[in-house]
């Protein structure tokens, strides 16, 4: 079973996305802030990380930077899942090594799941 780490401070999204991913037979680890997210990433070495950008304690950009710095975590694909959508933010996240950048408000839940499956199978 593949493990997905979901770093997102909005508990309702944690719940909804978590439920679907469990149905799809993934194991979900969730973190409500950037610090815990980073710790969990290092401890659990998930197969995929879903990362929000506006996060308490350590924002998503910093988390991404730290993940890519560490040998242990730098190869884990990261899907940025956020509501920031300025070009500068997208560019910055991609430069830092994000695999895909999804603007939450523009995607159906099922489309997000499809993307996740795609990234995990590639």
């Amino acid at each position: 079973m593949k493990t997905i780490l979901f770093i997102e401070d909005e508990p309702t999204l944690q719940k909804t996305v978590g439920q679907v991913l469990e149905q799809e037979d993934y194991e979900i680890k969730s973190a409500l802030d950037g610090e815990i997210g980073l710790q969990l990433a290092k401890k659990e070495k998930p197969d995929l990380i879903l990362l929000d950008l506006i996060l308490p304690k350590l924002d998503g950009f910093r988390v991404l930077e730290e993940l890519k710095k560490d040998e242990m975590t730098k190869n884990i694909p990261v899907i940025v899942l956020t509501n920031l959508e300025s070009e500068a933010d997208v560019e910055r996240a991609m430069e830092l090594g994000a695999t895909t950048y999804l603007v939450k408000a523009n995607y159906e839940l099922e489309e997000v799941i499809t993307k996740i499956k795609q990234v995990l199978s590639s």
Binding site: D9, E10, T12, L13, K15, T16, V17, Q19, V20, Q23, D33, I54, L55, P56, K57, N83, L84, E85, K104, A105, E108, L109, E110
Partner: protein
């Protein structure tokens, strides 16, 4: 670019008004003014110098005076630019609040509905109910935010439209305290009321718009409870100032406001750095609205705070005299 477009670009009255800053603070206008002054002075100096070639002091004095004046205008230009920067900052803050704080509940709402429609939860009524609750909650969050934004625009064009009536402040505060009992307990905060012994109704009777004042106090209590990190104490104190006014203080022993950010606290969209670090939900509109409402009701509002120790927010409202 059409001629009208060129005209609009050059029409600095329009430009300045669009940015909501006065003519004397508006860089575009001031630059044109400087240009005109320089041209005028050049011509003037030429003629004067022609006429008074015998007294160079006179010419020097005039040039000095004009230079001094130009420096004053130059200073205003710089100030004007600062003001413009601030206006633009507010605009971009609005965009970021709108994009994050409005779209966060929108996304939760949308995905909950997606989930319900997907048929994934068909065999569990419990899960369906949960998603419906999420949808409803987030719908409410959006309504609150939109109401706040509407209030802000009403405040800005002075059309808040308060509907004052007799209100008992003590009742109102007690009401809010019971509303927050749950959140306080969940956040490990004890929330207590300390009123003077005499609780007779007429000591707390004020003449205000009940809905708006309630929202204002709600915001203050909400902040006090939320901006305590890991449990603490919120005390609400009511005082009667010689039957002229009532004073309400909301004291917390929370994270406080860093000294250098204190002057911004009532500005719209402002949120201090120490808060942003661990609390991403919020718009920075609560205090702006509270201040506008209290002041429009004839009252005053303020606070003291020390970073790491806590804050006391207070407001005073006049008592309705018996007539």
């Amino acid at each position: 670019m059409s001629l009208r477009e060129v005209y609009r670009q050059l029409n600095f009255f329009e430009q300045c008004r669009k940015n909501r800053i006065g003519l004397w603070q508006c860089p575009i206008f001031l630059f044109v003014l400087i240009g005109l002054i320089i041209i005028g002075t050049m011509l003037g100096i030429y003629f004067i110098a022609n006429k008074y070639t015998q007294s160079p002091e006179m010419v020097a004095l005039i040039i000095l005076a004009v230079t001094a004046f130009l420096m004053v205008v130059g200073y205003s230009v710089v100030q004007g630019f600062n003001r413009l920067v601030e206006v633009n900052k507010m605009k971009s803050e609005f965009v970021s609040v709108a994009s994050h704080q409005l779209r966060t509940p929108l996304t939760s709402l949308k995905w909950s509905l997606d989930m319900l429609l997907s048929g994934r939860l068909n065999d569990s009524w419990e899960y369906q109910l949960e998603q419906l609750k999420i949808a409803k909650e987030n719908n409410q969050r959006m309504i609150d935010l939109v109401n706040d934004l509407l209030d802000v625009s009403r405040i800005e064009d002075n059309s808040l439209g308060l509907r004052p009536e007799r209100v008992n402040l003590l009742d109102l505060v007690q009401n809010l305290i019971s509303k927050y009992a749950f959140l306080a307990k969940a956040s490990n905060v004890s929330l207590v009321l300390e009123a003077e012994e005499d609780l007779s109704a007429d000591k707390w009777e004020i003449f205000v718009d009940p809905k708006r004042i309630k929202l204002a106090i709600d915001n203050l209590i909400n902040n006090a409870v939320r901006y305590i990190h890991g449990g603490g104490m919120v005390k609400i104190r009511l005082k009667n100032n010689k039957n002229k006014s009532v004073r309400c203080e909301i004291e917390d022993n929370g994270v406080g406001v860093p000294k250098k950010e204190q002057k911004y606290i009532f500005q719209k969209f402002f949120r201090s750095q120490n808060i942003m670090k661990y609390q991403t939900e919020g718009t920075g509109l609560g205090l702006f609205i509270a201040k506008a409402v209290v002041e429009a009701s004839g009252g005053k509002i303020g606070f003291q705070s020390q970073e790491g120790k806590g804050s006391t927010f207070w407001f005073e409202l006049p008592i309705k005299s018996k007539t």
